[in-house]
């Protein structure tokens, strides 16, 4: 057991390294554009050179990467090109906001997808299955930003029940925090549940076909116990492992939803970084989203190893 955990933990380091290299290259792939946008189109070549020299942009990319990575590891993401403010503290302020949004949205998605997916799985190739599968496709086809626009139109502008956007910290005003989070989380949750319903359905169908279900049935296990103790428990493992990929997708969609609802998380910071061509900001925001996704994948893998009795047994 411990060995498996250690192997998984060890594979995290190279993954993080490659991911950070990809991001660094993706952000820095066009030379000179940072200086030009920071200084304006009328900047002289000398001014651009001075700017690039000042920020170390004229050195080889590999060197720039090593320097950036070494600092980033201790939480120093450099200073913003725009206002010379340190990026690290800004990230630390915004990450919890994004995490709250993504976590609640994922919970919403699970609440939608587990019962619906299980229902479709139990009624495999019958009426309920067709209805749920179509519903899953419908949810998955909905553009989150359009759904968000519709929700704002209905619940904020027409009914006036919820704010159109903005963010209040939970510690300041819990009610206002939940009211502000409701629409973004529902928009994200519904869209993400499309794939999750399918994953749950497939997982249930596979477990239902397993021999131990037959055994449990012949032992006279009640239908209720069969579902709760045997089917759902075993279906949760593939559901969680594959679902983690969807959680990554959800964290990514945060970029758009945070923009629509004016939520000050790392997702909207990505856009701020892009609009201002502020590379330290963009890189730090994108990297923190990527790290969140990678850590979630890691945790889910570890959790799946804990739930799966077969892997526990090999450890003893």
């Amino acid at each position: 057991m411990l060995r498996l955990v250690l192997i998984r933990l060890a594979s995290f380091v190279p993954t993080l390294f490659v991911a950070s290299v990809i991001l660094f290259v993706a952000v820095n792939v066009v030379p000179g554009s940072a200086a030009r946008s920071a200084l304006g189109i009328q900047a002289t070549p000398q001014a651009i050179m001075r700017f690039e020299h000042l920020h170390g942009l004229d050195r080889p990319m590999a060197l720039q990467y090593v320097e950036w990575a070494a600092k980033a590891l201790v939480g120093d993401f450099g200073k913003s090109f725009q206002n010379a403010v340190a990026v690290g503290p800004e990230i630390r302020k915004r990450v919890p906001v994004t995490l709250e949004l993504a976590a609640i949205a994922f919970v919403v998605a699970i609440f939608i997808s587990v019962p619906l997916g299980a229902l479709a799985g139990f009624c495999h190739q019958r009426g309920a299955d067709v209805v749920v599968t179509t519903l899953a496709t419908l949810f998955g086809s909905t553009p989150s930003f359009w759904l968000a626009t519709l929700l704002i139109y209905g619940f904020a502008l027409q009914l006036g029940w919820l704010p159109t956007g903005g963010y209040t910290a939970f510690s300041l005003d819990p009610i206002a925090n939940i009211k502000g989070m409701l629409m973004p989380c529902i928009a994200l949750g519904i869209v993400s549940s499309g794939l999750l319903i399918r994953i749950m359905r497939t997982a249930v169908i596979e477990v239902m076909a397993a021999n131990f279900i037959e055994t449990a049935r012949s032992k006279g296990v009640s239908n209720f116990r069969l579902v709760t103790a045997h089917v759902l428990r075993n279906a949760m493992i593939p559901f969680l492992t594959v679902g983690a990929v969807e959680f990554g997708f959800l964290v990514g969609s945060v970029v758009i939803i945070e923009d629509v609802f004016r939520i000050p998380g790392v997702g909207s910071l990505v856009l701020v970084g892009i609009i201002n061509r502020d590379y330290p900001v963009l890189l730090a925001a994108a990297m923190s989203i990527t790290v969140i996704v990678l850590i979630i994948n890691l945790l889910v893998d570890l959790a799946a190893q804990m739930i799966d009795p077969r892997q526990v047994r090999t450890g003893h």
Partner: protein, 276 residues
């Protein structure tokens, strides 16, 4: 053929969705011929008017006909989707086949790299690529296409590995068939089916991504109509003129939904378990 002979379970979904998809494609293809107005023509006399007989979906904040803009945007979205899926499936299939064919270290390195790219939230990668490549339709196609490569690579590799274990492939190798012929004659034909299903789903996702990029101002630039930038503009007028963002959103949703259903249908057709 009698209706009762028709295998509804296997072909029903494709038979139902294919005509819808064809209508969407034809509408998009013939956009300049069928739109009632030019999508760029301003008419301040009819600004922010609701749906009427002359403007079926109303007009926007500059008096442009929303219906004409929605149809023109379809053309753009579908072009972006097609090109992006072509880039993704072409490169992905090559990577997948190389990985499966050579195996060993080549396979390990290629697929590990693909896994990491796959881990990235697609929209984040698209946004960053667009910011650097510059906001244009061509770059949107490229950015979205790159995102699809790992998915197609994984799929192709999985199928190719299954084919490689079949006895007919062993026979081909024993007969001394050269490597490239094995790839083109034995492996590729088997890969095409699953890749096609994946392509239908990827296409609808590409249309969604293009709209998301345009919504954020990183894709199609105004006045060029795109569903994404129309929804975004419409947000500012949603209280007075909700149709400006409702109409393109509905078109986007309907298109994505139709192509996803087609993907589901193609999967049914290729699924041997449903073959009665």
């Amino acid at each position: 053929m009698l209706m009762t002979d028709f295998n509804w379970r296997r072909y029903g979904l494709v038979a139902g969705t294919a005509p819808v998809v064809v209508i969407i494609l034809v509408t998009a293809g013939l956009a300049p011929l069928i739109v009632p107005y030019s999508p760029y023509d301003l008419d301040v006399m009819v600004m922010l008017q609701g749906p009427t007989a002359s403007h079926l979906m109303g007009t926007d904040e500059l008096g442009r006909d929303v219906l004409s803009r929605v149809i023109h945007a379809a053309r753009l979205s579908i072009t972006v989707g097609l090109v992006a899926v072509l880039i993704g499936s072409f490169c992905g299939t090559i990577v997948g086949i190389i990985a499966a064919h050579f195996g060993g270290l080549v396979d390990a390195i290629l697929m590990r790299f693909m896994d990491i790219v796959f881990c990235f939230p697609a929209i984040l990668l698209a946004v960053i690529l667009m910011a650097n490549l510059g906001t244009s339709i061509l770059n949107a196609m490229l950015a979205i296409g790159i995102i699809f490569i790992p998915g197609f690579a994984r799929l192709t590799r999985a199928v190719a590995q299954t084919v490689q274990r079949q006895s007919f492939l062993e026979a081909a190798i024993c007969l001394g068939m050269p490597g490239y012929r094995i790839v083109f004659r034995e492996i590729l034909p088997n890969v095409i089916g699953p890749v096609l299903v994946e392509a239908a789903v990827a296409f609808s996702y590409a249309v969604l991504l293009e709209s998301a990029l345009s919504f954020l101002g990183l894709g199609a630039q105004p006045p060029e109509p795109s569903w994404g930038n129309m929804i975004n503009t419409g947000r500012g007028f949603i209280d007075q003129a909700p149709w400006i963002s409702l109409a393109p959103g509905a078109a986007l949703f309907f298109t994505v939904f139709s192509f996803n259903l087609l993907g589901d249908g193609l999967r049914d057709v290729l699924d041997p378990k449903l073959n009665d």
